[in-house]
Amino acid sequence: MSARDECLSRIRGQLAGLSSFTELPQGPTPGGCPDLDPREKRLALFSERLQASGGQLHHLHSDQAVAERLAQLVRELGLTRIARSDATCLDPLIVTAGDVEWICASSSVKEVPQRKSLFEAHAGLSSAQLGIAETGTLVLDSRVERHRLASLVPPVHLVVLDAAKVVADLGEALAHFERDELPPTLTLITGPSRTADIELELVVGVHGPRDLHVLLLDPRG
């Protein structure tokens, strides 16, 4: 018997005597905040939770304001080498960001020079596909954008997020990805990389970014 068949038959053997079955719970999961309207309330919660988990929020009201804030961050943080994702929405920002060497995260990071330059980048720039107000979380869809490494390897992560993409809670975010809509990798990011493995003392930036800047584009706000 194959390992598969034996595992399954063991399981069936143990469960054979069951005569009544517990019903799977249906309906919304408790603890969400589905009625988080108007959008101002949703954005306020997103902002509060993001900052509570150590991220920084820049609430901006035009494309131009986003570009200016990015340029300002680049200057202030001294970012001269930035790994960017392939999202086209970033293209106009790059033009005005200042004197920066741009590294485009590629599928072939296995190549040593590519990998090396990625590891030497000062920051990563990407967009995010969703925001979750309940937890101050960013959702990254690997199908839409190549941001798996740009959001992870450099010590600073700069993210552009469309305010219209901020959903209320985890349930709403998961509902966005019905079974056929799932990318190979879906990443949820809440604040910077952190550890407390030494005497429970919080240290940020252990393997991923120590700084997370969210540029929230909110033209209606």
């Binding site: 399981i11 999961t29 988990s53 990071v109 992870l152 949820l188 493995d197 030494i198």
Partner: protein
């Protein structure tokens, strides 16, 4: 990187001795007290802020129960959907089979360096040791696990592997093994680990992870973490292998919601950990990520725990570690004393269930049954009930034979308790022993023949039975009244 042989089962016998040794280690107890106190306080605060905590627990408990009752169905569904998305699914009956699968995949990939994210399941099967014996380099990348690997130890906590170590010990360890300058600053120590591990990530050929949940309807699995090392392990190498216990499957994507509310709060007191990654297949052409994604579904004793509803509860564990932090026994002795991969209350339950009560017969007794663990368990596992059930199982087997005197004593006790006349005889016998128990000299002589008395009186006074029992006093009073 050496990882000395950890034959847990051989040490399971030594729990009483391990516990005594731990009690004499003031550094260990200081570290434990601080850490368990801090995490439990954070957990308490996080839980307090969730008004519907009990509803969430109830939902998670029901969800797990319903899933486990039809586990075969959900596993088959998971497998079908995972394969449809290009994930390669393997099944392992036991630890040896799982190790062999990983070894074969590593050989196929020509992998020399393997990077690992934190996974208790890989600890359970002794994966590192197996791969190292075959000549692979296996590098733990979670900071706590990295510390433990450098020290040649095993994790002493499910969530905080190096909970038993102080910053000074870790600084000294880094100094000794990595040749860096001695430091006591967690920030500096973390930065050192970051640098060292970046080199490993850059050269790794294969990444190994566990999973917190596997989702049947999508064939996906989710990994929770805070550091980003799991993301690096699963983004950079060409091959990603995930070892997943069969009990980790949940039916629907939407079912993640309840667990994402419960697990981080219970584990570390966070409302969400920094990262959750949902894997649903290898990379699409031209995208980032591993070319191959393998899932190994591991039984290793789990299917036997499906036999009844109480045992199934133990399979609902989501490995948050809350029961460890709150346990007054764990808080005194730490995880290594248990000499099992899974320590604390949940470890005392699942170790005997996975490895057999004969081997782990001490563990179900390593509890005062205070029930604090049951109160904090986010999926409502009745840990004291499981410990009691296992105790009875130990007594039915031959493992308890070392306690032959105790068995005889309880037989006598039950005789005395099953009839008022015999109970009266017991009272009279106790009365006769009273002079012996009252005089310190006589008592210590008696203790030599009665080990429990010796155990009690080593650090506590013993109150001898009363001169007249309640029932006698009652009878006297009744006689007087009439």
């Amino acid at each position: 990187m050496s990882h000395p042989a950890q034959d847990h089962s051989a040490n399971l016998e030594s729990f009483p001795e391990n516990a005594r040794r731990a009690l004499n280690d003031s550094q260990l107890r200081g570290a434990l007290r601080h850490a368990t106190g801090v995490i439990d306080e954070r957990r308490g605060q996080a839980v307090e802020r969730v008004a519907c905590w009990q509803e969430l627990r109830e939902r998670a408990k029901t969800l797990k129960a319903a899933t486990l009752e039809r586990l075969d169905h959900w596993l088959e569904l998971f497998e079908r959907n995972a394969i449809a998305r290009g994930t390669q699914v393997h099944w392992a009956r036991d630890a040896a089979e799982a190790n062999a699968i990983v070894a074969r995949l590593a050989a196929d990939a020509g992998a020399r360096t393997l990077v690992k994210s934190k996974s208790m399941t890989t600890e359970e099967i002794g994966l590192n040791q197996h791969l190292e014996e075959l000549g692979h380099r296996v590098v733990e990348t979670d900071l706590g696990e990295y510390i433990i690997q450098l020290a040649g130890e095993t994790p002493s906590h499910i969530i905080v592997p190096a909970i038993h170590k102080t910053r000074a010990e870790i600084g000294e360890l880094f100094h000794r093994t990595l040749g860096v300058k001695d430091s006591k600053d967690p920030k500096e120590l973390t930065a050192i680990a970051r640098e060292r591990l970046r080199e490993e990530f850059a050269r790794a050929d294969m990444g190994i992870s566990g999973a917190n949940f596997a989702i049947a309807e999508t064939g996906s699995f989710l990994v929770l973490e805070n550091e980003g090392n799991a993301r690096l392990c699963t983004s950079l190498p060409r091959v990603h292998v995930a070892l997943i216990g069969i009990e980790k499957v949940i039916p629907r994507l939407a079912d993640l919601e309840v667990f994402l509310r419960l697990l981080p709060r219970s584990g570390t007191g966070q409302h969400l950990t920094s990262y959750q990654t949902l894997f649903s297949g290898p990379r699409a052409a031209g995208r980032e990520g591993p070319e191959e994604l393998h899932v190994i579904l591991l039984d290793n004793g789990r299917s036997a725990m499906l036999s009844d509803s109480l045992s199934r509860q133990a399979l609902a564990c989501i490995r948050c570690g809350a029961c460890l932090n709150v346990c007054p026994v764990y808080g005194q002795i730490g995880g290594h004393a248990y000499a099992s991969v899974y320590p604390g209350p949940i470890g005392s339950v699942i170790t005997p269930m996975l490895q057999g009560v004969e081997q782990a017969h001490h563990l179900p007794f390593a509890s005062s049954l205070c029930g604090a663990c049951r109160d904090v368990c986010p999926v409502g596992i009745d840990l004291p009930a499981l410990l009691l059930k296992l105790r009875s199982k130990v007594r039915q087997g031959s493992a308890g034979s070392g306690d032959r005197e105790q068995r005889r004593a309880f037989r006598l006790w039950s005789l005395a308790m099953s009839g008022p006349r015999r109970y009266g005889l017991l009272l009279r016998a106790l009365r006769l022993a009273r002079p012996l128990l009252e005089r310190p000299g006589a008592r210590s002589r008696l203790a030599r023949w009665v080990p429990p008395l010796a155990a009690w009186t080593a650090a506590r006074e013993f109150r001898p039975p009363a001169g007249r029992s309640f029932r006698e006093l009652w009878r006297d009073q009744e006689a007087k009244d009439s």
